[in-house]
Each structure stands twice: as C-alpha cells, then as structure tokens.
Symmetry: C2
Subunit: 367 residues, 2 copies
C-alpha cells in the first residue's frame, strides 16, 4: 500500500458590500459595468419584477440576456427551474466570465445563487433583493438552494454574493400579504440578537406598515448588520449561525405541509410560536416574552396557529427530513429572553424530545 497526500490550499478572507438606499435601482447597472467590466451579465428575475417595472428600471434600454421565472414564487423554486436557467445561459453562449445578477425576492435569490454556484463550476453573483424577506435575510449570507420533489432546499450550496444592493423603494410595490410575511424574519432577528431592536419594532410598527422609506432603510441596515455578524462568525453553520434558524424547523415543515399555500414568513411565524411553546414547556423562557412575540406577530396579521388541516404526523415526518437532522431528528434553536438564544454546553441548537414537539404541534392547532 502506497500513500500520497494532496494539499488543498487555504482560501483567503474576502468581503462583500451591501449598499442600502431608496430609489437606487437605476444607478446599479452603470456601477456594475464599471466595477466588473470584463464580465458578461445575465439577469435572473421573475414575472412579478417585470410587471412591477423594476427590471426596466434596472436595465433601461440595455440589451441584457435574462431569464424570467414564471410563475413567480416558491412553486418554481425547484431543480427543474435551475435546469432551465442553466440551459438558457448555455444558449446565450455564456462562459465562466459571467456575472449573474439576481433581481427579486428570496426565491429568485436562492435559485439564482444556486445556478451561479453550479454553472460551469461556479460564477459570481450580485443580489438585488426586492422583498422584505429577501432584504432582511436571504440575500445576505451566501446560502442558496432549491427544492426537490421531496423536501425544501434538498439541493444547495454556500455561495457568497459579490455584492448586495438593497433599494427599499422596491418594497412599496409588494402586495400587503407578502410584505407583512417578510417582516417575520426581521422580528426573528430582533428575538435572537437584539432586544432594543425588538423595542424599536414594537414602537415603529405603524410606520413600517405604512412603508416609510426612512424607517425601512434603518431596518434593512439593522437586519444586515445582525445577520452579517452571525455569518462572519460562522459562515458554514458549524454552530452560532444555527440561531438564524429560530422558528424554522417547525416553520419549514408547516410550509411544506401547506403545499406552499403559506408564505415562508407566515410559516416561520407559526414556527416561532412553536419554539415559544417548547421554551415554556422546558421552563427556559422569561415570563412575558411569549406574549410580546405573539402580540407583535398578531399585529402583523401573520398566522400564529397552524391550519386545521395540517396533520401532526405529516409535520413530524417532515421534521425528520430536515436537512440539519442528525439520526433523523433535528436540534432546535430556543431563546431564553428577547435578544438571547438559549445554549447548552456551548451549543446554540439543542436537543428537544420528539414527544414535546409532537404535543406542541397538537397545541398549535388549538391555540
């Protein structure tokens, strides 16, 4: 037996910029052309962005190859759409000297990021998130992924953007339901990392719901700061980054089980309530925390109970398939008080017995 060792060299630290403003869409393209002059651009967006006029604002009269996802939304966030995107890029004779520009919400960003990660072994991507959920969450941090016919984000990669542009004016064209659901990730950030930010959200909820762009810029900044800090500390989700998963273990299951009739943020709202119920049962929660969280979610008018037709056994099966599951059962992120995640032996995701989760799933339907 003969042995050889092959070294895989270290990769140096890098960084990417997030630029936040109002009505900035029109100035992005000249900047991309000047900062990435040698790269051919390819846009990935969806039909909603086209009808809202955002694609036109971005590219004006320029002739840029684009893939417009249709229908928009979670229903298209699957590997088959990625295949169509890759083939469109091939038909445009694009090579590795391509910059993918993702204009849209979380599903566009996830799909475009994953397509960029796997196209000819990887090309760079710029994210231009246009929804509350994408601006708060999915555009930052490099997680990309699409669904298989069995579960969410079964296919995925860590693929960090070259840059992120946030134009909060794009939020003003969002429909009310999507707008509100997307704010759940903002609430989540406050719960896991920043109690003052939670206070701010409680105090300014009316201005936020009025889509005041000054307040929206502040939120965008604070969201990116919280998420960015976590991602910097633990980019590949070995431990700390798990906290961003608060409310998502039950949330993803509820989202799948609803056949994606629930929006991601709506499902996460239910997942946050489920996490709160688990915290109460384990006795790790501050007294008034659960009610404050429930109140703000109710003011947002997002669901806080699970729909009657969701069977807890279906949910349990989906939870077993969670991509973070080890030995067919995932760990859970829980909080002690607003701004503080509960840890055990230094771990941010902790064991919760299936029986407790099952009883919470039953209670969720009744509460």
């Amino acid at each position: 037996m003969n042995e050889l060792e092959i070294k895989v060299p270290a990769t140096p630290a890098t960084c990417y910029k997030i630029k936040i403003g109002t009505n900035t869409l029109g100035s992005i393209w000249p900047e991309l052309d000047s900062d990435f002059p040698k790269l051919n651009k390819f846009i990935i967006t969806d039909e909603n962005l086209v009808s809202a006029g955002h694609l036109e604002k971005l590219i004006r009269e320029r002739n840029v190859p684009a893939f417009v996802i249709s229908p928009a939304g979670e229903i298209s966030k699957n590997i088959n759409t990625v295949i169509s995107i890759i083939e469109a890029m091939e038909k445009a004779y694009l090579g590795r000297d391509t910059l993918v520009v993702a204009l849209g919400g979380g599903t566009v960003g996830d799909m475009a990021g994953f397509a960029a990660a796997v196209f000819k072994r990887g090309v760079p991507v710029v994210q231009i998130p246009t929804t509350t959920v994408a601006q708060a969450d999915s555009s930052v941090g490099g997680k990309t992924g699409v669904d298989s016919s069995i579960s969410k984000n079964a296919f995925g990669a860590f693929w960090f953007p070259e840059r992120v542009y946030i134009d909060v004016a794009t939020l003003t064209t969002l429909d009310e339901r999507q707008y509100r659901a997307g704010l759940v990730e903002t609430i989540k950030h406050a719960i896991i990392a920043d109690s003052e930010y939670f206070d701010f959200m409680e105090e300014n909820l009316d201005s936020i719901l009025d889509r005041n762009t000054d307040v929206l810029e502040k939120i965008a900044y604070q969201n990116c700061k919280i998420k960015g800090n976590v991602v910097e500390e633990d980019p590949l989700e070995k431990n700390k980054r798990r906290i961003l998963n608060y409310g998502h273990t039950v949330g993803h299951a509820v989202e799948s089980a609803s056949g994606f009739k629930l929006l991601h943020g709506e499902a996460v709202s239910i997942g946050i309530i489920a996490a709160g119920m688990i915290e109460q049962r384990l006795g790790i929660s501050e007294p008034d925390k659960f009610q404050r969280i429930r109140n703000i979610l109710e003011k947002l008018q997002v669901p806080v109970i699970s729909p009657d037709n969701l069977d807890e056994n279906v949910l349990l099966d989906l939870i077993k398939r969670d991509k973070k599951a080890v030995n067919k059962w995932p760990k859970f992120v829980l909080t002690e008080k607003i701004g503080n995640v509960y840890t055990k032996n230094g771990q941010y995701a902790v064991e919760v017995e299936p029986e407790i989760v099952e009883s919470v799933l039953i209670e969720l339907k009744k509460s």
Copy 2:
C-alpha cells in the same frame, strides 16, 4: 446610501490522502467506519461495478443504502441522474451527517462528487475509482460535474474528496476498450509534465496492456503525483491547472459530437493529435514529438483521427460553448516538447485563431 461590509472568513488549508494498493477493496470499509464513525454512509456506484462483484467486495454482508446508476457510462452522467440520487438520499432520511462513497469510473465519481457537493449544501465524499481514467485523473483534484442536454459539465462544483482509495486490481475486470481509452489521460500527464514518465510508458506499454499490477501501482502513484502537484498549486484553475486540459478542448467537442459513442479517453486522444497539429502550425513544437505521441496512441489502439461523420462546423460550435470560453472562444493548452507546456506571458492557456483550429479539424478527418 448606506453601506455595510460583510467579511467571508478565510478557510484553512486541508489535505486528503490517496491510498494505492492491489486487492484492497475488502479492507476499505472497516477503515471508513473507524475513521468516520459518526457519519452515515451512502454508496453511489453503477451496474458494471455490481456485476463485476466489486460492490460486494467493498461492503460484504453490510447493509448500506446505495444508488446503482443504470445504464452505466456517460449517457447517465446528467442532471436527471443527480436528481434521482438526491431523492434516494432523502428517502433514506439522510442528513448532513452523511459520507458519500463513490465506487466506480469517472462518470460515477463526477456524479457522486457533484451530488455530495449540492446535497443539503454539501456533504463529504470518498472516491474509490475503478477505471484507468478515474484512477489517473478524475478521482483526484475535486472537479465534479454533470451534463445538461446542451453541453458537458454544464453543472458542476469544486468539491475535494475526503480520501481516495485506488485498488488497481479493479482494473483487471475492465473491458479492453475502456481500459485502453483510460490510459490516454496517463499519456497526457507524461506529455504535459514528465518526459521520463513518457519514456517509461513507451518502454512498459506491453506490461501495462497485460495489466501487471506492479506496473499499474507505479502508474497510479505517478499519475496522482503529477495531478496532485498541479492541483495543489492551482486548485481553482486560475492558470497552471489549465495544463490538465491538454487535448480536452477539441476532445470534449469530439466526444459530444459523437453522441458519446467515443469514450472520453478516445476523444481526448483525437484532441491530443489536434493539439499537436496546432503546435506544428504555430511552429512551437520539437521535431519528433508529434510522431512519438502518435505512435504510442496508435499502439494503444485508440483513435487518432476524427470520425468521417463529424462536421467541423458542429465541432466549432461546441468549442465556442466550452465552459472555459471567454467571449465565445476558449484558449488552448499546447506543448513545446514532451514534459513541457508552452506558455505566453506566463499563461498556460493561449490564444489560437479560430481559422487555425478549423483547418486542423478538417485535417483531422483526412490524416
């Protein structure tokens, strides 16, 4: 406009071991269980490995979930097979604590490596290459990929193995055509990096064709050493690693255009001849080099001319779609003498005018 900067931390250097021996298949599994005790194993292989008895030798009476690719070969190396693999992994309730074990030739390794790279954003993979081409080339270096309906390796990722096990005894069951075609990558290694190795190949070709395992172990070691050195220096193919692409630009086009009737190594043989013709036209080649290379390829009984039915315009179109193309035309790797790649301004891949390539494609049919 407000700006934030998100750091993406450096990743440390790592390394992986290549273990080379004869009749070692049976001892791999206990070693994996002992070295990776916490990981669930999932095997990806193909029907040829099952019928050759290699899968049985590897796992014995153990009950390990597996995906058996059928039919074997390039025809299955596409994104649809990867979808089936991922769904099989989901049905086995596998999570991120999974070790993918790839047992097979280059197509198995490429598919399994890519599936591992994208399953739930990436799980580790161990490669057990069982063909001349996989042992010489594809199992080492971390390139993974599968084809779209339009071109080769349109989907892919850099995903380094945790470990590589080479059992040269697996080569003794290979059919003669596949065995010989796979040796073309070995010839390529000698041409681009080591003239003494080329001498060794010329002198020992009979023992190699007799599948003498002592000589095969030597070849496996030398191939991994050459490839490993190049990959260590330039893992992400910024420059030096391009030399491994010798003969592949025309080779990939010929392989695609033949509808994969030509094996990869057979197509690369034609591509190496094409590179030699380009070198002659550019006047950068040592006098007897072309004939020595042609002689050894002819002794291997691999094709050195392109089939009559391949249209040069089809080939040119495929070359334009090469994944390394910039502005719709790829650069070429050329050699000055055996063991030495030609460089221009420090670059290992150089410009060649389309007219020269076109005339070589025409000559290739006639020669």
